[in-house]
């Protein structure tokens, strides 16, 4: 809740300043900025190939064993890091935002067996939560639509990420209703998933945002979408069962590509050799 309130406050502040200060333009050419950035993200997974421990036979339940992946809004994470940019012209700059990021993706499985002798069918529905953390290194080209104090922009480029740690928890109950309440369901311990994941990823990133420039600093609010090209589950270790969940919870991870939508706030400071750090100039026109 706190990040949302903070973002709203900054947004209102920026709009207020925008309305008061349109008569300045920003002196940005050949200027470098450094700063801090942080925010929230929503992860998602695209299945490249599905895998199962439990193999269907003609004697299997009619209900499928497909994994149901949670929508992007249900997979929350966060990131924080540094901000570097260098402006080649008044509107074109390169941005490098190394950050430490946590992200997640969830999927659900359900199985049932009928016990006709004891009239006590056995059902289990499981929500598998994977949390990944690592370093994200996006290198972006940024184009500002204006050189004014309030400047909307778009940016795009490539990123690399390096996984540091991955964890997995399974929440489960005995009712198949497409819902596992994490508050009331039983859960496993948190298992180390790191060796089941590929460490490195590379992909494309694109986003948009706006920056409000003050005399000695600037604040940006932006959103970026990232799509990783590499398959992120380690094929060689898929069945190695480092988590201990493979047989007990009939779990083999699908091969996945990960994507991510972030919303982040950045505060930047200009770096300049001149005595004055002021970056605002009175508009001539």
């Amino acid at each position: 809740m706190m990040p949302t309130k903070t973002l709203l406050f900054i947004f209102v502040l920026a709009i207020g300043q925008l309305l008061q200060a349109q008569d300045y333009h920003v002196f940005r050419q050949k200027k470098m900025y450094v700063g801090l950035t942080g925010g929230i993200n929503f992860g998602g997974a695209q299945v490249v190939k599905d895998y199962h421990v439990l193999v269907n036979t003609p004697q299997s339940s009619a209900t499928g064993q497909e994994k149901k992946y949670a929508s992007i809004g249900q997979n929350k994470g966060s990131q924080f890091g540094l901000y570097f940019s260098y402006s080649f012209t008044r509107k074109l700059s390169f941005v490098f935002e190394p950050s430490f990021q946590t992200t997640s993706f969830n999927y659900a499985t359900a199985y049932s067996w009928s016990d006709t002798v004891n009239s006590s069918d056995f059902n289990i529905e499981m929500m598998h939560r994977q949390k990944l953390s690592g370093v994200n290194l996006p290198l972006l080209a940024r184009y500002d639509f204006t050189a004014s104090q309030f400047s909307p922009y778009v940016q795009g480029g490539i990123f690399m990420s390096f996984g540091h740690h991955a964890r997995k928890t399974i929440f489960y109950d005995n009712t198949i209703d497409d819902e596992v309440d994490k508050e009331t369901a039983d859960q496993t311990g948190e298992a180390d998933l790191t060796r089941h994941m590929n460490r490195a990823n590379v992909g494309l990133s694109a986003g948009a945002g706006f920056t409000w420039f003050a005399n000695y600093f600037a604040i940006s609010l932006e959103s970026n979408f990232r799509y990783g090209f590499r398959s992120m589950v380690n094929d060689r270790n898929r069945y190695a069962d480092y988590t201990g969940f493979s047989v007990q919870y009939l779990d083999a991870m699908d091969q996945l590509k990960l994507f991510n939508l972030d919303i982040q706030l950045s505060i930047m400071f200009p770096i300049d050799n001149s005595v004055s750090l002021g970056i605002l100039r009175k508009s001539r026109y």
């Binding site: 421990v53 004697q59 299997s60 064993q65 006709t116 060689r236 047989v247």
Partner: protein
């Protein structure tokens, strides 16, 4: 370019084994009352997968085919008159056969597994061979072991080349009541009995594990199936669990004594001796479950032949132990399984030099299902590394 330069080293390196060479598969059945006991597996006729024979609902029989990646192809539940398949599948002239029993007459059938029709066809039946307990292909001849409840004998029968008739039979006397043990064995009540038939590489002796006199014993027979010697068990509480010949009267074996299991990967046995099994020197392995199957196989890893033991631990894992057959030295071992009980049922080496392990898996704490664990060539090599 800098990014790509960093990325390339992480993009994977070539290894001998492909990811699909290693897997765990469990074969589903929605019937929560069904308990499946995998018995044995063998390569399919065209080497495009495996044939797995299992028991279910006690002594009923199911045949299943899976492909080389462990995916299900077909299964067939045999009619209810065919029961009590012996664990040993027999391959002859490229065809797979199973030996089982008639549910009413208790006599023996030989069935051919028809992979094209996804069924079995009856090759022969032997009305005088009651309670089949083991089958064996020496490479030249097929043998069937049985318990004859009418004459109180353990019998062994050599079949003709077309499996249609018995060429020669032999038997040894039993002077104690084993009916309860046999019935419990064939109906899967309590522990299974490790019956087996084998032969020396020189083909000068047939060796079988069965009831003899007052105990469960290791019996040596001459090529004409006459009695040669015996290592008597300790009643029903001690004897051989598994045996694999090395040649020149040397054997790799596992023996049990009550609930303890002992290995000796290279010992000399005298085929004409009258001795006791518990006198065979062997190393105890207190972590292993003596009542569960022990398998000893000749496996080639990195071009070197090893004796590989597969057994189940008391904590429901599997233990693979690899021994140098020349020295009897343990060169590597590997535990398989976590959290869920798994029991060893069969072990074969695959064409890609990996290992396929047939297991019984207890899922959700209750449901006994067929499982297959495939280790890649690289994983097999890692055991001895």
């Amino acid at each position: 370019m800098l990014f790509l330069g960093i990325a390339v080293p992480f993009s994977g390196c070539k290894k001998d084994s492909k990811p699909e060479d290693s897997f765990i598969k469990i074969y589903d059945d929605q019937n929560g009352n069904k308990h499946v006991h995998p018995l044995g597996m063998t390569a399919s006729e065209s080497n495009d997968g495996y044939i797995v024979v299992s028991a279910y609902d006690g002594w009923r029989i199911q045949v299943m085919k899976i492909d080389n990646t462990g995916e299900f192809v077909w299964n067939y539940e045999l009619p209810s008159n065919y029961v009590n398949a012996v664990p040993d599948l027999v391959k002859m002239n490229g065809q797979n056969y199973l030996v089982c029993m008639d549910a009413v007459g208790l006599f023996t059938y030989v069935l051919k597994i028809d992979e094209a029709a996804h069924t079995t066809t009856e090759v022969s039946s032997f009305s005088n061979v009651l309670y089949p307990t083991a089958a064996y292909n020496s490479g030249q001849t097929i043998y069937i072991q049985n318990y004859d409840r009418l004459s109180y004998k353990t019998g062994i029968h050599r079949l003709s080349g077309d499996l249609s008739s018995i060429e020669q039979s032999g038997s040894v006397n039993i002077f104690t009541d084993v009916e309860e043990q046999i019935v419990n064995h064939v109906t899967y009540i309590g522990n299974r009995i490790p019956f087996f038939v084998s032969s020396t590489p020189e083909q000068d002796y047939i060796v079988m594990n069965g009831f003899y006199n007052y105990s469960f014993s290791l019996i040596f027979l001459n090529p004409d199936l006459s009695f040669a010697g015996v290592y008597n068990g300790a009643g029903f509480n001690g004897g051989l669990s598994a045996l694999s010949p090395l040649g020149a009267s040397r054997f790799a074996l596992a023996r049990f004594s009550y609930d303890n299991l002992y290995y000796n990967p290279g010992t000399t046995l005298n085929p004409t001796a009258i001795d006791i099994a518990e006198s065979i020197p062997a190393q105890g392995h207190s972590e292993l479950a003596a009542e569960k199957p022990v398998l000893i196989r000749d496996i080639s890893i990195s071009g070197t032949q090893y004796k590989v033991y597969l057994s189940s631990t008391r904590s429901n894992q599997l233990l693979i132990s690899v021994y140098d057959p020349a020295t009897g030295e343990l060169v590597g071992k590997k535990y398989l399984g976590k959290n869920s009980p798994i029991t060893a049922c069969d072990l074969i080496q695959t064409e890609d030099e990996g290992l396929s392990i047939l297991v019984q898996v207890k899922i959700m704490g209750n449901l006994d299902r067929i499982g297959l664990i495939k280790l890649s060539k690289a994983e097999a090599e890692a055991i001895v590394d």
